[in-house]
Amino acid sequence: MKIIVCIKQVPDTTEVKINPTTGTLIREGVPSIINPDDKSGLEAALVLKEQQGAHVTVLSMGPPQADLALREALAMGADQAILLSDRAFGGADTWATSSTLAAAIRKLEWDLIICGRQAIDGDTAQVGPQIAEHLQVPHVSYVTELQVGEKAIEVKRKFEDGWQRLRVQFPCLITTLKDMNQARYMSMAGIYEAYKREVKVWGLADIDVDQANIGLKGSPTRVKASYTKGTRSAGKVYEVDPRDGARIIVESLKEKFII
C-alpha cells in the first residue's frame, strides 16, 4: 500500500515569548519543528511500513527551509520526500493551501493520505478535510487509533463526549491527533542517509493547478489585522470589596475575549 503523509514545518509556539515592553512576538531563536499532530501521523505511517511494507511519501508545502522538516522525516524512515515550494504558492489560506496540496497529490499513486489534525501555528484543522474534498474522497478527522486492512482502514474517531470506531474504504484521508502515539527519534544512520537523499522540489510548473486556486490570489480569506493581546508588565492591582473585584475580573475577561 502507498501512504502520503502531509507535514508542515512550524515554529515551536510553546517557545514563543512576547516582548514585555513592546507587546510584540519574539520570533528570533524559536526552533522550527515538524508539527506535532503531523509527526504522529508520520509515526503511524512508519509503523505500517514496518508491519506491512507500506511505501511512505512525505509531502510539505512551504518555503525552501522546510527542506529540513522533510529530511527529518526521511531520517525517521520515510521513503520519499516532496517539497512544494514556489513564490506563486505564498500567502495561501487553507482553501488555497489544500487546493495546491491536492494538485500535487493527484500526481502521485496512493491509497491513504494522513494529515495532522491541525498545525500549532494556525490551529485551524481545515487543510486535511479540504484536501479530501478537492480529491473527492472520504475523510475521518480526530483519529486516535488505526488498523489497516486490505481494502479499508478502521479508525477510532474522537468526540468531546465519546468516540466511534469507523471503517472507510481506500482511497481516503484521515487526520491524526498527537496523543495517538509517541513519534520515534531519527536514527543516527537515518540522519546520515537523509542528507545524501533527494528531497524533490516541485514548483508551479510541476503540478496541474488553476492559478486562480493557489496563493494569495486563490485565497477567499484575508488577514485584515493582527495584534498581540497586550503587554504583561501593565498589570493593575485593585484593593476592593469582593463584589467589585468580581466585576473587574469579568470586565477584563470580556476585553480579552476570554468570555
Binding site: Q130, F159, D161, G162, Q164, K224, K236, S252
Partner: protein, 336 residues
C-alpha cells in the same frame, strides 16, 4: 459571484442524539446581534432524524427568525458526507451571507468540507465577531500562533462568509417563548452512496480526565482558600469558564487534591489563555510553572503577595467571598 444576492445569517444547530448542543444557542445569541446590525434574518439549520416542532420552537425562542429542518434517516448520527451534502444544499438554496458553526469536533470536521465544496473562506475558532461599518463585511477575530496573537480575518469576495466559533465564548439569549418565527422542512435526499463511512461502534462517555497542560482556562487554588471544601468549590467556576482546576504545591501537600493538578517547578508547566490564581501567594517555584499564561488574574487578601507582580489583574480581597460573586457576575454577563 454576485455578493448582494447573499442575505441572512445562518447558524448550524448542532445536535447529538437529538439534543441541541449548547453551542447552537450561543451561536444564535451572537448571530442575533449580527443579523440586527445587518437588518437581515437569522436562520437556524437543524439536521437530524425525527426532528420536532418543539426543537424548532426552542431555536426560535433563542433568537432564530427562521428554522430549516432537514430530516432524513441518514442524518441520525453525525457523518461527514451526509451532513456536508445537507448543509451544502441548504446554503445553495438559501444563499445566506454568513454561516456559523460551533468549533466542536463536529463543526470543525463539517465546516471545512462545506467551505471547500462551496469555494468560500472559512475562519476557525473565532472568539469575536463584528460587522465592518463601511464594507458590511464580517470581521472574524481569532487567536493564532499558540494564542500569542489575535488576528482579524475577512472574506471579502466570496459568500457565504463562514466561521467556526469557539464554544463557551458567545452569549446565549434568554429563551423568549413569545418570539415568533417560521419553520420550514427542507427536502434533501441523502443516498446510500453518501454514507461512505461505516460506523462499527459508538461509545458515549464523558471525556477522560484531561491534563491541566491542555486546558485553555485554569482556575488554580492555593492555601489561601483555607480548607478543602473551598478548594472543591473552584470546580464549578472552572466548568463555567470551560476550564479545569489546578493547584499550588501547598494544597497538594495538604492532600486537598491530587499531584497531577500541581503547577510549578515540581509540578507541571502550563500556559493557558487564562490563569486565575485564587489564594495563591506566588512563590517563585509556582510562578515558574505558570508565568507564560496568556492572561493572569490573581486574587489574594495579602496585598504584598508576590503573585501580584506577575498578574495582569490583581484583586486584593477575601477570595472566599469573591468566588460566589464572580460566579454571579459571569452568569449575569452571559445572560445579557
Amino acid at each position: 459571484m454576485n455578493i448582494s444576492e447573499y442575505r441572512g445569517v445562518m447558524v448550524f444547530a448542532e445536535q447529538r442524539r437529538g439534543e441541541i448542543q449548547k453551542v447552537a444557542f450561543e451561536l444564535l445569541g451572537a448571530g442575533r446581534g449580527i443579523a440586527d446590525t445587518l437588518q437581515e434574518p437569522l436562520i437556524a439549520v437543524l439536521a437530524g432524524t425525527y426532528l420536532t416542532d418543539a426543537q424548532a420552537a426552542s431555536l426560535i425562542a433563542h433568537g432564530a427568525d427562521r428554522v430549516i429542518l432537514v430530516d432524513d434517516p441518514r442524518l441520525g448520527v453525525y457523518m461527514t458526507e451526509p451532513f456536508t451534502k445537507a448543509l451544502t444544499a441548504v446554503i445553495t438554496a438559501e444563499k445566506p451571507g454568513i454561516v456559523f458553526f460551533g468549533a466542536t469536533t463536529i463543526g470543525r470536521d463539517l465546516a471545512p468540507r462545506v467551505s471547500a465544496r462551496l469555494k468560500t473562506g472559512l475562519t476557525a475558532d473565532c472568539t469575536a465577531l463584528a460587522i465592518d461599518d463601511a464594507s458590511r463585511n464580517l470581521l472574524m477575530t481569532r487567536p493564532a500562533f499558540g494564542g500569542n496573537i489575535m488576528a482579524t480575518i475577512i472574506c471579502p469576495e466570496h459568500r457565504p462568509q463562514m466561521s467556526t466559533v469557539r464554544p463557551g465564548v458567545m452569549r446565549r439569549l434568554e429563551a423568549d417563548t413569545a418570539r415568533t418565527g417560521e419553520t420550514v422542512r427542507f427536502a434533501c435526499r441523502i443516498e446510500a452512496a453518501d454514507v461512505n463511512v461505516e460506523i462499527l461502534e459508538e461509545v458515549v462517555q464523558k471525556e477522560e480526565k484531561k491534563n491541566i497542560e491542555d486546558a485553555s482556562v485554569l482556575v488554580a487554588g492555593g492555601r489561601g482558600l483555607g480548607n478543602p471544601e473551598n478548594f472543591q468549590s473552584l470546580q464549578n467556576l472552572a466548568e463555567m469558564l470551560g476550564g479545569q482546576v489546578a493547584a499550588s504545591r501547598a494544597v497538594v501537600d495538604a492532600g486537598w487534591t491530587s499531584q497531577d493538578k500541581q503547577v510549578g517547578q515540581t509540578g507541571k508547566t502550563v500556559r493557558p489563555d487564562l490563569y486565575l490564581a485564587c489564594g495563591i501567594s506566588g512563590m517563585i517555584q509556582h510562578v515558574a510553572g505558570m508565568e507564560e499564561s496568556g492572561f493572569i488574574v490573581a486574587v489574594n487578601k495579602n496585598k504584598d503577595a508576590p503573585i501580584f507582580a506577575y498578574a495582569d489583574i490583581g484583586i486584593v480581597t477575601d477570595v472566599n467571598r469573591l468566588l460566589p460573586a464572580l460566579q454571579e457576575e459571569l452568569n449575569r454577563a452571559r445572560s445579557v
